[in-house]
Symmetry: C2
Subunit: 390 residues, 2 copies
Amino acid sequence: MQDLRASDIREILKVTQKPEVISFAGGLPASELLPARQMAELARNLLLDDGVRALQYAPTEGLEVLREIIARRLGERLGLQRQPDEVLIVTGSQQALDLTGKVFVDERDAVLCESPTYLGAINALRAYQPRFVEVPTDDDGMVPEELERRLESVDRVKLIYVVPDFQNPSGRRWSVERRRRLAEMAARFGVPVIEDSPYGELYFEGEPLPPVASFDDADVVVYLGTLSKILSPGMRLGWVTAERSLLRRYVLAKQGVDLHTPSLTQLLAARFMLEHDLDAHIAGIRDVYRRRRDAMVAALETLVPLGVRFTRPAGGLFLWVELPEGINARELLERCLELDVAFVPGGAFFANGGHENTLRLNFSAMPEERITEGIRRLGTVLSSVAMAAG
Amino acid sequence: MQDLRASDIREILKVTQKPEVISFAGGLPASELLPARQMAELARNLLLDDGVRALQYAPTEGLEVLREIIARRLGERLGLQRQPDEVLIVTGSQQALDLTGKVFVDERDAVLCESPTYLGAINALRAYQPRFVEVPTDDDGMVPEELERRLESVDRVKLIYVVPDFQNPSGRRWSVERRRRLAEMAARFGVPVIEDSPYGELYFEGEPLPPVASFDDADVVVYLGTLSKILSPGMRLGWVTAERSLLRRYVLAKQGVDLHTPSLTQLLAARFMLEHDLDAHIAGIRDVYRRRRDAMVAALETLVPLGVRFTRPAGGLFLWVELPEGINARELLERCLELDVAFVPGGAFFANGGHENTLRLNFSAMPEERITEGIRRLGTVLSSVAMAAG
């Protein structure tokens, strides 16, 4: 069934290749913000002065220069004090999810996750045939009492998977209190937490919140980060940080799956961070996405009378919509595609299905006018569907 | 146990970082042949004229331009007529081995392999917990009668894994007849063959032999190739070609493990092949490696009186040594490391262990004088060990 869903999304994304389509379906960073010009000079210089290292085999753990930069950033940006040897470079954080399955999950083990949760994590972990147990989740994160009940009663819980910062698909951010309680509970039950944070630096107001890992005194939290949303997704660079002996298991697993992450992309990213100001670059991304979020929220406000509920995310790339019960987002999508508007039906993001009246909207990849126009068309279709539904 | 072995090799490779060590332990292409200068200009131009594509997300299957070039090469160089949509780009062919495990192997299934076989394949597949069944192998490849007996008698055989061209570790190349018979038998028993050919283009004399896949009328052969040994290992670029519905299963598996292979490296490799003459580049590699093989064989000839047997590979990067029974290559290694010479003990390359009197020597990474000197030292140690053994 999951395969079918993955291919559903692939089909949607294929349609959205057409330039006339207003696509809220993808999860692409804004192409115009990719620093191609700077990268061109960096890549040339890198290959001229350090060409052998860029083209030769590298250690499975990642190249030292990049591990050092990431370790330093974890301290400066998130308050996580890590040494370079506590950082493993991976081929995008999707790989970290697959390695997580290899390291922790056997057939019929239980994985606790948010409801909804990141589709890519479902896909990666499903290969290891766990039972997914959805933990009821509100605007502040997993409900602690619900999580505790499952930790007490569910058999063979091997991990808790969470995306606490501006989650894909819901756009929600966990409160500090919920983060603290998750770390405390995971320690008490001795269950590892996978804290996946691709969007943590894309907050639109105020300050970043401390990661779950910052409350972890028991070395049970594995923290995943990535450059995909703050520098370039096509470079496929992510990292895992965890307690050393646990990280060692990730390294051994990675050795079997791709030997190491490409050397060239690692060194290029390291040079970017050494020679340019990544924080200033991220601030620029935040400004653009904030305006796009504002445009989408403003346009959606006009739909509220129809009983549509939606999140107002304080960061990230996505906004989550709940339609009135009885309206099926897949059917809505078919009608929208006729008007050249695309999105992803929300059912795909629930590990055990259902919730067909939900949908995910991406706001990062398109200018404000297109967002406004796309939501207008979505509203038109929705009105006629709602009318037909009575 | 395998972890221990993998870490053994890591330890050896760590020692060999020291510049004074003569290392036959790695499997590195010659660093001085990596085309860093050409890549510097290509990377700059690529990022200036096609920067968004190089830095943005890409399809799981790989970028069209690279799939087209590889499909064309498969036809021109190997006589395999393939369309671009029959080619999947992977993050190094090591990833293809992991995907093979995901697609074909469940716990307790049987995998037939050569004896010895590629350690990286053992590592990748072992994660899926198969039984490895070693098929007796001579200088021409797997012995057909032995293979047939196992196909008849072993329960749950899910795949046959072979490296027919200048195998790592043995340096052996399968005869054309054995290739044909493997394809015929695999078709008859309906068992998929994984034909892994990283060294196929590195033949030192004559012409390349037709791949097993060229005799495959039943769509049972999955062919794996890579740019690691002919262009750059650090770029981590390989490919899988197979019948479409089978390849589709690899694509779905890859989607879960890393979404896609980095865009930048794919486009850079494609530009290299469009703007430079890869065949001429490979011819240059062949010339260098041929001389190094010659130097190693000549030096080893002096050890023959001691009862040492070794292969004289007609291509590739490795040469395989069998010591007299009773001499343990791990112990020999310890003595050699004292003289700053390293190699990999051969026991690691047997899926079910044993064969501690064998070792693998790499000849691609070092100039002739160093090879001669290293083998001289190896000979010295070997003489004293043989003397002590009586």
